[in-house]
């Protein structure tokens, strides 16, 4: 005889299926996928407290103001770049320090979105052989080897490396460590 489910009494089964929860789980999963895709396509704006200078004339201005240029090679689709933007450039203290010490210039890669880049972006990328994002490049104002910082390893690490790069830029040529303090050229 096939199993027959007796009519459930008002007090209900001790093993009642959690229909509400299951429906909610399904709905939330759908919502998760939808919002995930949506927010991927529409990245939320992250407060960025650094006032980025235009690429044109940046190096001239840097020699004039005796401040090294800080190139931020980044792209919109790059998640670690966004993390760095939020945690380093979005933080009031570090943003202030960066603005004081460097001449910040943002170099935004648009290859994926538009298929190509503006010539100055292209030439900068080729000059410093930028292949991954984010890449920070410090160009000392007194002429000298640029210091290249590849990848984002957290706020503390980035700030330390920027400081080291800045110090290195201030040293006279003879005293500079060979190859740069951090992944130099």
């Amino acid at each position: 005889m096939p199993p027959v489910e007796p009519v459930a009494s008002p007090s209900g089964s001790t093993r009642a299926r959690p229909t509400v929860l299951l429906v909610a789980a399904l709905a939330l999963m759908v919502a998760r996928v939808v919002t995930g895709i949506y927010e991927e396509r529409h990245p939320t704006s992250v407060p960025d407290l650094v006032r980025w200078q235009p690429i044109e004339g940046a190096e001239a201005a840097s020699r004039e103001q005796k401040r090294p240029v800080l190139y931020d090679f980044t792209a919109d689709w790059c998640l670690p770049c966004r993390a760095m933007q939020r945690e380093v450039f979005g933080d009031p203290e570090s943003a202030q320090e960066i603005e004081r010490v460097f001449l910040p210039v943002r170099v935004l890669d648009r290859m994926r979105e538009e298929g190509g880049n503006a010539p100055e972006v292209d030439s900068l990328q080729r000059r410093f052989r930028v292949s991954t994002f984010p890449t920070l490049v410090v160009v000392p104002h007194g002429g000298g080897d640029p210091v290249v910082i590849v990848g984002y390893r957290g706020k503390e690490s980035t700030i330390q490396r920027l400081r080291a790069a800045q110090m290195e830029g201030l040293l006279p040529r003879a005293m500079r460590p060979p190859g740069g303090a951090v992944r130099g050229r």
């Binding site: 005889m1 007796p6 009494s9 089964s13 001790t14 093993r15």
Partner: protein, 321 residues
């Protein structure tokens, strides 16, 4: 209360990942009337514990239907009036006896007011009053565990009490206590379902007994519960006196005068039914006083024991009772 109805219950296990199928229960059908004391006996591996598991909603039958008071066994309404003492009793070892009963008292939905008194009362009833209730369960002996298990099963005034080997590991004093508690419960109209290997206990306590073997109910015997423990006495006389010097009529008359009854002659033996031990003694006295050279008197196996030893005959009643 409308009792328990079981129709066509079947349950199959698969042993291990790719093992053989074990037919634990095959097409079991029976009815247990409310207020009845129903025993379940059978050899090991017969499916008795599986049967109890299905009755309690702990296992899902593969086929068939169980209703208790018209509800499914895993219905909340039934859980509220059920008490269960499992065979392999596992209690929360870190609690004390008192804490454990208070815990189950709360789980049974009993009000917190009066909890302490009811827990104390329950402990006293099973002989665990006083210091024993304070001890952590991990330090309980086997007999104490069973007593606590029974106390837990009786919490909340259940209408259906399922006992799986309740007296296992219990000392004789405990066994007597259990029997007394069960008869008290029966007087209150509680339906008791008892699974036990101890046939004399089952015979004493139960109204009807189901004999389960290899997943099937082979027989359901009606046992005269509560009555004095009647039995069959086999008397052998010396010199083959029975059937020769002492006639059948003489034996019958002597039996009646001793308050017993002759059920048959099988020379050199005669079989008598006696009401109890006193009756057996009276019968033997009467026989000896009348000159019957009684050499040996032994009780025959109880009816229930015979179920285990005999192959099923056509005298058995199969299926529902």
């Amino acid at each position: 209360m409308s009792g328990i109805q079981v129709e066509g219950l079947s349950k199959t296990y698969r042993r291990g990942l790719a093992g053989e199928r074990v037919h634990a229960l095959v097409d079991v059908s029976l009815t247990i009337a409310p207020g009845e004391a129903f025993g379940i006996i059978g050899p090991n591996g017969a499916g008795k514990t599986t049967f109890l598991g299905c009755l309690l909603g702990l296992l899902r039958p593969d086929a068939g239907r169980i209703t208790i008071d018209g509800h499914a066994p895993d219905d909340l309404a039934i859980r509220a009036v059920t008490g269960y003492l499992p065979e392999r009793l596992v209690l929360d070892r870190w609690m004390t006896g008192r804490e454990f009963l208070a815990y189950h008292h709360a789980l049974a939905g009993q009000p917190a007011a009066g909890r302490r008194e009811e827990v104390e009362g329950a402990l006293e009833r099973v002989g665990l009053g006083g210091e024993a209730g304070q001890r952590a369960i991990r330090r309980y002996s086997r007999g104490m565990l069973q007593r606590l298990g029974l106390a837990q099963a009786m919490l909340g005034q259940p209408r259906y009490l399922f006992l799986d080997e309740p007296a296992s590991g219990v000392d004789p004093a405990g066994v007597v206590l259990f029997r007394r508690l069960l008869s008290e419960l029966r007087q209150k109209g509680v339906t008791v379902i008892l699974n036990s290997h101890q046939l004399d206990q089952v015979e004493r306590v139960c109204d009807r007994v189901a004999f389960v073997k290899a997943g099937r109910v082979e027989a359901i015997e009606t046992v005269a519960a509560g009555a004095a423990h009647a039995r069959v006495l086999r008397v052998r006389a010396a010199d083959a006196a029975i059937g020769t010097r002492v006639t059948r009529e003489q034996l019958a008359a002597l039996a009646v005068s001793a308050g017993a009854a002759l059920t048959g002659i099988d020379p050199p033996e005669a079989r008598f039914t006696v009401a109890d031990d006193a009756g057996a003694a009276r019968l033997l006295q009467t026989l000896i006083g009348a000159g019957v050279p009684v050499a040996e008197a032994t009780p025959e196996e109880s009816r229930l024991e015979r179920l285990f030893l005999d192959a099923p005959t056509d005298a058995r009643t199969k299926g529902s009772a």
